[in-house]
Every structure is written in structure tokens, then in C-alpha cells.
């Protein structure tokens, strides 16, 4: 090896050595940062694991008092359960009806104008950003207690969630059959019903079923702010220390959520 070649090899080895050291240092700093972030979460949430251990007998007492579930309250739980499911259904239907046209305006490949595109995107973004619980509080103030504000809250929030997913589905669809239909002389509405809808329908139904599944879970919580359903009954039973009724309601909630989830999953599988 010539002198020059040897010098070049030494120089590159030296550079590689420095590079390796810097990489190790960066990794070390990143690991330290990760540990610091984890520790600060414990501080900020005021985590006290010892309280959990000392307080476990309180939880055990609560569970003990909740056993056995009070099945005599089963007939009375039927109506709130139906309300819960229907709040979710109503919210999902309202969401679909409003989200579909909005999604067409908010899809870059379908929108008739940039103004419509940004307006639709703004509505979808706003309805999605405000949590359904906040919408429920607003609607309870507007229309009073009961299942109706719950349905409205889920409907408005679903507009945002469904609108975004619908728009993304429309943007990603295969445009070739649509262009083929347009060139046959079909009108816009015909292209929509014979081209766009058959192409995107399975995806839209799958997304809607998933949303319904989510809405059933949400409608349980909405009852806590007075928006009807089984959540409202659960809150009342807890406030009155009727723990055996609470355990019955929790069993019902578990069955409803699990059934909705299985039906939704099975239907989505069939549509795929």
C-alpha cells in the first residue's frame, strides 16, 4: 500500500471512529430522555401505588356489596338499554346522512370547487375536534335531559369522524371506472349512483358499522351527563349506593358492547 493510500485509510478509520462515538452518545441521550419522560408522567399524575394497595379493601368491599347482581331490576333495565342502543343508532344514522354529502365536497377528486372543499373540511374538522361529551352537555342545555340530546351529540360528532373517513375512502377509490362512465355520456348523478356508490359502498358500510360500535360505547358514557340511556341509570344507582343494581347494569353493558362488537365485526367481514 502506498503512503498516500495508507494515510487516506487511517483518516477514514478515524472519521468512522468519531462517527460511531457520536451515534452511541446520541442513543444514550435519547434513552435518558425517554426515561425522564416516563418519570415525569408519574409525577404529573401524582401516582401513589401504595394508596392502591392500602385502598384495595375498599374496592373489595364495594365488589362484595355488589354481589349477587340484583336480577329483579332486569325488566326495569330493558328500556334504558334499548335507549342506549337507539341513541347510538340514531347518532350513526344522522352522522351518515350528513357526512356523505360533506365527504363528497371534502374529497379532492370529487369536490366541485375549492371553496366547497375547504368549507366541508372545516365543518368535518370542527365536529370531530369537539368531544361527544361536550356536544352532549351543549344539547342537554338546548333540548333538556333525555336520550334526544345524546343522539344529537353522537350524530354531530359522527359527522366529523365519518366525514373524514368517507372523504379519504372517496379520494383513494379507483377513478378509471368513473372516467369510463363519464365518457359514455352519463350525467353527474348517474355517475354517482352507478359508479361511485357501487365502488365505495362496502367501505362506507364497514366504516359506518365500526362507528356504530364506537357510538354504542359512547352512548353509555353520555348518560352520565344526563343524556339518557343505561349510563344515566348506572349513575343514579351509584349515587343511591345500589351496588347490586350497578353490577347488573355492568353485566348488561358488557353484553351489549360485546354483542355490538361481534355483529359489527361479522358484518364488516362479510362486506370485505
Amino acid at each position: 500500500m502506498s503512503l498516500v493510500a495508507r494515510q487516506q485509510a487511517d483518516a477514514s478509520r478515524a472519521a468512522g471512529g468519531w462517527g460511531g462515538a457520536i451515534t452511541i452518545a446520541i442513543r444514550f441521550v435519547l434513552i435518558l430522555l425517554g426515561i425522564a419522560v416516563a418519570i415525569q408522567t408519574f409525577i404529573v399524575v401524582e401516582a401513589r401505588p401504595q394508596d392502591l394497595i392500602t385502598g384495595i379493601h375498599g374496592m373489595a368491599d364495594l365488589i362484595w356489596r355488589a354481589i349477587p347482581p340484583d336480577f329483579s331490576k332486569l325488566p326495569a333495565a330493558f328500556w334504558p338499554t334499548l335507549q342506549t342502543v337507539d341513541i347510538a343508532l340514531f347518532g350513526t344514522l344522522v352522522g351518515i346522512i350528513i357526512a356523505l354529502p360533506l365527504a363528497l365536497l371534502a374529497a379532492a377528486n370529487m369536490t366541485p370547487s375549492r371553496v366547497a372543499y375547504y368549507a366541508a373540511r372545516a365543518i368535518i374538522g370542527f365536529t370531530r375536534a369537539v368531544p361527544d361529551l361536550v356536544w352532549a352537555l351543549l344539547f342537554v342545555t338546548a333540548v333538556g335531559l333525555g336520550p334526544f340530546p345524546g343522539g344529537l351529540a353522537l350524530g354531530v360528532h359522527s359527522v366529523g369522524m365519518l366525514g373524514r373517513l368517507f372523504a379519504e375512502t372517496i379520494e383513494q377509490m379507483d377513478m378509471a371506472p368513473i372516467q369510463a362512465l363519464q365518457l359514455t355520456g352519463a350525467r353527474r348523478l348517474q355517475v354517482f349512483s352507478h359508479g361511485i356508490i357501487p365502488i365505495i359502498l362496502p367501505s362506507l358500510l364497514g366504516i359506518s358499522l365500526y362507528r356504530l360500535d364506537e357510538n354504542i360505547r359512547s352512548s353509555l358514557v353520555l348518560g352520565f351527563v344526563g343524556a339518557g340511556g343505561i349510563g344515566f341509570q348506572l349513575l343514579t344507582a351509584m349515587n343511591l349506593f345500589q351496588y347490586q343494581e350497578v353490577s347488573l347494569l355492568l353485566i348488561i353493558i358488557f353484553i351489549v358492547v360485546l354483542t355490538a362488537e361481534r355483529i359489527s365485526a361479522a358484518l364488516r367481514e362479510r362486506l370485505a
Binding site: 378509471a176 371506472p177 372516467q179 369510463a180 362512465l181 365518457l183 359514455t184 355520456g185 352519463a186 350525467r187 348523478l189 348517474q190 349512483s193 352507478h194 359508479g195 356508490i197 357501487p198 365502488i199 359502498l201 362496502p202
Partner: protein
């Protein structure tokens, strides 16, 4: 039947994609356009269908100049102009029969068709067209289950449902095997003869052009290199189309 005069297209970036292009396709004639990638073949078809607006020139469909029309008048005039692509562009979840019948949508603007249904008479006609392209037995099958060659024949049947006078084909056999390609070209040739269609077909397969075209148009750099009856097209002339511009 189809007459193109002085057609030019300049893109906003200044590139001239088509320059003073002229061609005629008579009823019952199958004309093949050959040319290298980027020579302007597909651009020519897009200008004829008015998917792209030409910078200059005219496209005559019978007595109608498509370049002078806009909106509803253009849509109506374009009903006589059908198009098929490299990919069949069918709606995969709908049946073969429905896909064919959608070709007739332009003639029926009724409440029934707006809500996703099709006129019964057009469904019957579509069944006949499927028979013409040899796929009558697949009418009820989902379009997504077809092979490439079958899907392309369904696309041709759909274009016939439009009852066109001119059929444009943009590389209709590009994604098919040799046997299916021959089948499609035979079908286009038969339709040109029996239905008195003017067929303008863009191809990359020179041998298919030699076998099926009545006339061959060579295109290079957006200009016509030659426009000759099939028998007069020399191998050298065709080779010239595919040589790089720099050579």
C-alpha cells in the same frame, strides 16, 4: 366519419404535444396509430374525446365539430364517440350485464337511472351485446371475477351499448397475453365491418397492426410520420418511429 384537422396541443409548460395533426377514419375502417412512448398517441385520443382541450384545430364527428361545443351540447355529441382503455375500467362489484348496460346511461336520464337502476330494454340489449362478444354465459357474474381478456370484451360491449359511430381504443391489448390480444383485435375488426364503426386504435404491437389494420398512422414527436394502407407500411418506417429523437 371521424375527421381531425390541424389539431395542436401545447401544454402550459410550453411543450408541444401535438402539432398540426390531421387524420380521417371512415365508417367500417380500422385505423391503427403506432408510435413510441410520449409521441402523442394518447394525447391525440384525449383531444378527440375533448378530455383535453386542444390549443388549435377541429375534431369532426360526422357534421359536428366537437371543438366548438361545450357543456350539455358536447355531452350529447360525445354519445356517438365510445372509448376503451388498456384496463377495462369496469365496476368490479356489479354484474357483467349491469356493467354493459351502463354504457347506455347517456341516453336515459330518468329517476330510475339516477337511483342506480337501469332500463329493462337496455338490460335486454346488453344481453345481446354480451352474446356478440362471446360472453353471454357470464352475464350474471361479478365483473371482478373476469380474466383480463374477458373484462376487455365486456368493456367493448359496454362501449357498443352506447351505440357509437366511432370507437377509440387506447392500447386495448397492452395488458393481455398474445392469444387474448388477437381475440380483441379480431373483435374490433369484425365490429368495424359489421357495425360500420370507425375504429381508431392506439397500439404498441406492430405485428397486430400489420395483421388487422386497414390503415396505419405513424406518429413521432406529436406529428404524423406516415399515414398509409397496411400493405404499404415498411418495416423501416415503423422502426423509425421508435428511434430516439436524438438518433
Amino acid at each position: 366519419m371521424l375527421r381531425v384537422c390541424g389539431l395542436s396541443l401545447r401544454y402550459p409548460n410550453g411543450k408541444l404535444a401535438l402539432s398540426d395533426f390531421a387524420l380521417t377514419v371512415e365508417a367500417g375502417e380500422l385505423v391503427v396509430v403506432l408510435g413510441g412512448n410520449g409521441s402523442g398517441k394518447s394525447t391525440l385520443l384525449k383531444c378527440i374525446t375533448r378530455t383535453l382541450k386542444p390549443s388549435a384545430g377541429e375534431v369532426w364527428l360526422g357534421d359536428t365539430n366537437l371543438c366548438a361545443l361545450e357543456g350539455e351540447k358536447l355531452r350529447r355529441a360525445r354519445l356517438e364517440l365510445a372509448m376503451i382503455w388498456q384496463h377495462a375500467s369496469l365496476v368490479g362489484r356489479r354484474s357483467v350485464l349491469t356493467n354493459v348496460a351502463t354504457g347506455a346511461l347517456g341516453r336515459h336520464f330518468t329517476l330510475r337511472t339516477v337511483f342506480g337502476r337501469l332500463p329493462r330494454c337496455e338490460l335486454e340489449a346488453a344481453r345481446g351485446l354480451l352474446g356478440d362478444v362471446g360472453l353471454a354465459n357470464l352475464a350474471e357474474q361479478r365483473a371482478s371475477t373476469l380474466s383480463g381478456g374477458q373484462a376487455q370484451r365486456v368493456a367493448i360491449a359496454r362501449s357498443l351499448a352506447q351505440r357509437p359511430r366511432v370507437l377509440l381504443a387506447d392500447e386495448p391489448v397492452a395488458s393481455l397475453d398474445p392469444e387474448a390480444s388477437e381475440e380483441i383485435m379480431r373483435l374490433l375488426q369484425r365490429l368495424a365491418r359489421s357495425e360500420r364503426l370507425a375504429v381508431l386504435c392506439v397500439l404498441h404491437q406492430v405485428e397486430l397492426a400489420y395483421s388487422y389494420a386497414d390503415r396505419v398512422i405513424g406518429i413521432r414527436g406529436g406529428c404524423i410520420a406516415f399515414d398509409l394502407p397496411r400493405g404499404e407500411v415498411s418495416r423501416e418506417a415503423v422502426r423509425g418511429l421508435y428511434m430516439s429523437e436524438a438518433a
